[in-house]
C-alpha cells in the first residue's frame, strides 16, 4: 500500500481503513458524542414535557389552541381592524399583531430617514452640526430604550398642555397630553387616488429601467421627469374621478374639552413612535457614518478631480459603495426595531405581546400564548431578513 501511495496511484476501496468500533477512530467518537448529547437533550425534554403535562392536568388547564375560539371579554385601546369585547381571542391577537406591524412599519421608515440624515450630519464639515449630531447619538445609545419610552410618555402626559390649550405648530396639527392630531382625508375618492399613486410609481419604475437599458445600448440620453410628472398627475386624477370626486379633508377643530375631526394618534402610540424612531435612528446614524467612512478617500479625490460637486460625489460614487457596508448591520437594526416594539407593553399600547399577555393571564394557557408570540416574531424577523438579503445581493459588487 505504501508503494502505491509513493507512486501516486489511486487508492481503491479495498485499501480504505475498515470501520473500527474503537475510541481511536474519530468518526466513531463523533457518532458516540452525538448520540450522548442527543440522548441527554431528549431525556431533558422528556422530563420537562412530563412535568408540564402533569402540572397542566393538576391545574385543569387544557392543552391545544381551542381556547382561541372563546369570547375575549376585554377591550383593546386602539385597533386597525374592527374589534369588540365579544369577539374571539383569535381576533384580539390579530388586532395586537396589526398594531405591532403598523408601529414597526412606520417606525422603520422614519428611523431610516432620520438615521441617514444624522449619519451624514456627523460627516459634514460644519463643527456645530457635527457636535450636535454626536451628542444626539451618544445620548440615545447610552440610555435604555425602556427608559426612553417612559420618559417620552411622561413628557407627553405631564408636560404637554391639555387639549384646550394644545400646541399648534402647523396648520391642522395639534399636540396635547391626549396625543397628536393631524388632518385626515376620507371619502371614496381616497382609495382611487392611492391606487393611482401606486400605479404611477410602478409605471415610473418600469419606464426608468427601460430607459436605463436603452441608454446603455445606444448611448443616447433620455429624460425621465416629463413622463414621471405626467403620470403622477394623471393617474391619481383618474382615480379621483373614478371614486366619484368625493374627497373630504377633515381638519381637527376644538369642540368642548376635546377635538373633533382629523386623525388622532393616542399618547401611547405617539410616545412609542417617537421613542422607537429616535432610538433606532441613533444606531443607524452610526452605521451610515461607518459605511461612508469605509469608502477609501481616493474615491472622493478622484470624483472631485472629475469636477463633481460634493452632493453628486456622495450620491453617485460614495453611497453605492458605502451601501454594501451599511446594509447588513442595518438589517439587524430593523430586526431589533421589530423586537423592541414589544416594549409597548410597558406604556400601555396594545401590541402583540401586550394582548397575548392579557390572554395568557385570563386563560392560563401559558405555553400556547408564548408559542404564538415566538411564531409571530420569528415570521416577521424572517420576512425582514429575506427582504434585506435580497436587497443586499442586488447591491453587492459583481467582481471578476
Amino acid at each position: 500500500m505504501v508503494a502505491r501511495q509513493a507512486l501516486d496511484l489511486p487508492m481503491s476501496s479495498h485499501d480504505r481503513a475498515p470501520l473500527r468500533f474503537s475510541w481511536n477512530n474519530p468518526d466513531f467518537r463523533a457518532i458516540a458524542y452525538q448520540i450522548v448529547v442527543v440522548g441527554l437533550a431528549a431525556l431533558m425534554a422528556y422530563y420537562l414535557v412530563s412535568n408540564t403535562l402533569h402540572n397542566l392536568a393538576t391545574r385543569n388547564i387544557a392543552t391545544g389552541f381551542a381556547f382561541l375560539e372563546r369570547e375575549a371579554g376585554f377591550a383593546i385601546g386602539e385597533s386597525l381592524i374592527e374589534y369588540s369585547p365579544s369577539d374571539t381571542y383569535a381576533r384580539a391577537i390579530l388586532v395586537g399583531l396589526a398594531n405591532t406591524l403598523r408601529v414597526s412599519a412606520v417606525a422603520l421608515v422614519l428611523a431610516t430617514v432620520l438615521g441617514v440624515i444624522v449619519g451624514i450630519a456627523r460627516l459634514s464639515g460644519n463643527w456645530l452640526i457635527v457636535r450636535l449630531a454626536s451628542a444626539y447619538v451618544e445620548l440615545i445609545r447610552n440610555v435604555p430604550l425602556l427608559l426612553q419610552l417612559l420618559i417620552w410618555y411622561a413628557v407627553i402626559g405631564e408636560l404637554l398642555p391639555s387639549p384646550k390649550a394644545a400646541f399648534h405648530p402647523l396648520a391642522g396639527i395639534y399636540l396635547s397630553n391626549r396625543g397628536m392630531l393631524m388632518p385626515s382625508v376620507d371619502g371614496p375618492a381616497v382609495a382611487g387616488i392611492l391606487w393611482g399613486l401606486v400605479l404611477a410609481a410602478a409605471a415610473i419604475v418600469a419606464v426608468a429601467r427601460r430607459q436605463r437599458a436603452s441608454r446603455r445600448r445606444t448611448g443616447a440620453p433620455s429624460r425621465l421627469w416629463p413622463f414621471a410628472l405626467l403620470v403622477l398627475v394623471l393617474l391619481p386624477a383618474a382615480g379621483w374621478l373614478a371614486g366619484g370626486r368625493e374627497f373630504h379633508l377633515s381638519m381637527p377643530r376644538h369642540s368642548g374639552f376635546n377635538f373633533e375631526g382629523g386623525w388622532a394618534l393616542s399618547p401611547e402610540l405617539f410616545a412609542l413612535l417617537i421613542g422607537l424612531v429616535t432610538y433606532t435612528a441613533g444606531f443607524i446614524a452610526e452605521i451610515v457614518r461607518a459605511g461612508v467612512q469605509s469608502v477609501s478617500h481616493g474615491q472622493w479625490e478622484a470624483a472631485q478631480t472629475l469636477g463633481l460637486p460634493r452632493s453628486r460625489v456622495l450620491r453617485l460614487v460614495i453611497l453605492p459603495q458605502a451601501l454594501r457596508v451599511i446594509v447588513p448591520p442595518t438589517t439587524s437594526q430593523y430586526l431589533n426595531l421589530v423586537k423592541n416594539s414589544s416594549l409597548a407593553v410597558a406604556i400601555g399600547y396594545p401590541d402583540l405581546v401586550s394582548v397575548v399577555n392579557t390572554v395568557l393571564n385570563q386563560t392560563g394557557q401559558a405555553i400556547e400564548g408564548v408559542l404564538i408570540i415566538m411564531a409571530a416574531f420569528m415570521t416577521v424577523s424572517l420576512a425582514v431578513s429575506l427582504l434585506m438579503n435580497w436587497y443586499n445581493k442586488r447591491i453587492a459588487l459583481v467582481e471578476r
Binding site: N51, N142, V155
Partner: protein
Amino acid sequence: MSTTIPTERSALRAPARVRAGLMTRLRQSLFQSPASAVLTILTLWFLLMLAPPLVQWLLVKASFQAPDAQACREAGGACWAFIREKYRLILFGTYPHAEQWRPLLATALLVASIVWTATRRLAGLQIAGLWVFTIVAVATLMWGGFLNLAFVENTRWGGLPLTLILSTFGIAFAFPIGILLALGRRSRMPAIKAMCVAYIELMRGVPLISLLFMSSVMLPLFLPEGFSIDKLLRAQLAIILFAAAYIAEIVRGGLQAIPKGQYEGAESIGLGYWQQTRKIVLPQALKVVIPPLVSTFIALFKDTSLVVIIGIFDLTQAAKAALSDPAWTGFGVEAYLFIGLIYFVFCYSISRYSRSLERDLKR
C-alpha cells in the same frame, strides 16, 4: 558667490504659522457654503429658542428643597426635592433602611472589580481570584445571615445593586455558555451543529421581553410540583440564556477570523481538539472580539431594565415605585431623568473604555 547655510538653531527662522486664526477656522467650518451657513444659523436659532426655557425648567425655577409636593409644583420648575426625598428608594429599593450601607458597599465592590479587571494588568488566575472574592463578598453583604449581619431575603433587594448584579453575573455566566455554543455551531458533527444553530437563531429571533415572560410564567410549569425557583433567579436565568446566544455569534465571528494555518499547525504538533481550542484558538479569537463583547455588556446593562415587566425591583422599577406614592405624583420626568443620568454615566464610561481598548489593540 557662495551662501552659507546657517546651522545654529538661533540663526534658523521659525517655521511659518500654518494653523489659521480662530475667525478663519470658524468661517471655514461653520460658513463654508451657503447651505452650511443657513444650517448654522438655523441651528443656532433653534438652540437659542430651546436653551433658555430648558435651563429655566431644569435649574432656575427648580426647587431643590420643598416641604411637600404642592409647594414644588407651584414653583413651576423641575422638582428635584422629589429626588432628595426618594433617592434611597430609587437607588436601593426596599432594602431595610438601617442596612443600606451594605448594598452601597456591594455596589462599590462590583464597580471596583469591573474597573480593576478592565485595566488589564491582571493575569488570568488573578482575575478569577478577584471575581471569586467579589462574588462571595457581594453575596455575604446582600444576604447577610452571619458575621453579625441581619438576613435580608432577595425579594427586598432592588435598585442599582440589583441592576449591577443582574448584568455582571448575567454576562459572567453567559460567557462560557456562549463560547461552547459558538464552538458547537462550527463543529462538523451534524447533530450538535443543528442543536446549536436552532438555539442561537431562536434566542436571537425573539425579544427579551417574551423570554422574561416565558421564564416567569412557563418555568413553574416545567418544574415538578412543590419545587419553585425564586423570581430573581428566573429573571437571571432568562438573561443568561439570552446573552449566551449573542455572545455565541460574536465569538463565532472571532473564530472565523483565525487563519486555518493555526488549526493545522496545532494538529500537526499532535494537539487534540480541546487542547488546540483552549491553548491556540480561543486566546486569539477572544482577543479579537473584545470590543464587540464590551458593547454586548453595555447592551445587557441596558436590557436589565426590562425586568420591570415581571415586577423585579431594578432601577427602573424602583423609580416607578417612587412615583406611585400618592403624596408625590406627577414627577415622572424628574425621576426618569435621574435614573437616565445614572445609566448614561455607566454606559458612556464603558463605551469610552471600549474605544480606548480598540485603539490599544490595534497597535
